[in-house]
Symmetry: C2
């Protein structure tokens, strides 16, 4: 028997929901680490920004995306949005008064 | 002995790189599925857009983000960017001539 089209749609949507839960967890952990990186740089007097590292991350994400079949331009935009958010978070840490 | 600050930074950066590889894989699979969803809707004459489903996804992602400790506004912006990209991809499928 042909599967019901709406049921088949539901199966695909369930998988999309699982994947969305996956990237939320990953990004939550990512920002926890960049908060720690910000605090670590502050503690050790390391520069807040590192253009070489940023360029390497962008190049790497485009390569990973191409290999995975994801549009590299979309992957780069997404990473830049994540990095911008990290910088905003780190600025808040750097602007915080010393404990 | 106190660990070298740059070495400790390198360990955190390696974890960030792993996490970036993780979301690239997840988003690549997500767009493969939304491509299939687009083709499936076309095949079965289902509506391309579903505002109820979209609202449910947004609400769910904000809840997941809050639980995970991720800014729900950032999670929502990220999901909307993913959904916009999916719509662009699906339009390309819908505009394609019948095979």
């Amino acid at each position: 028997m042909e599967p019901d089209p709406l049921e088949a749609l539901g199966v695909m949507r369930n998988r999309l929901d699982e994947l969305d839960a996956g990237w939320v967890e990953i990004l939550a952990e990512r920002f926890r680490i960049t908060d720690r990186v910000g605090a670590h740089k502050r503690e050790h007097g390391l520069p807040a920004q590192d253009p070489t590292r940023e360029a390497a991350m962008i190049g790497r994400i485009r390569d990973l995306a191409t290999t995975a079949g994801l549009d590299p331009a979309f992957a780069e935009r997404t990473l830049r949005s994540i990095l911008d958010e990290s910088v905003r978070n780190t600025r808040q840490i750097l602007d915080a008064p010393d404990a």
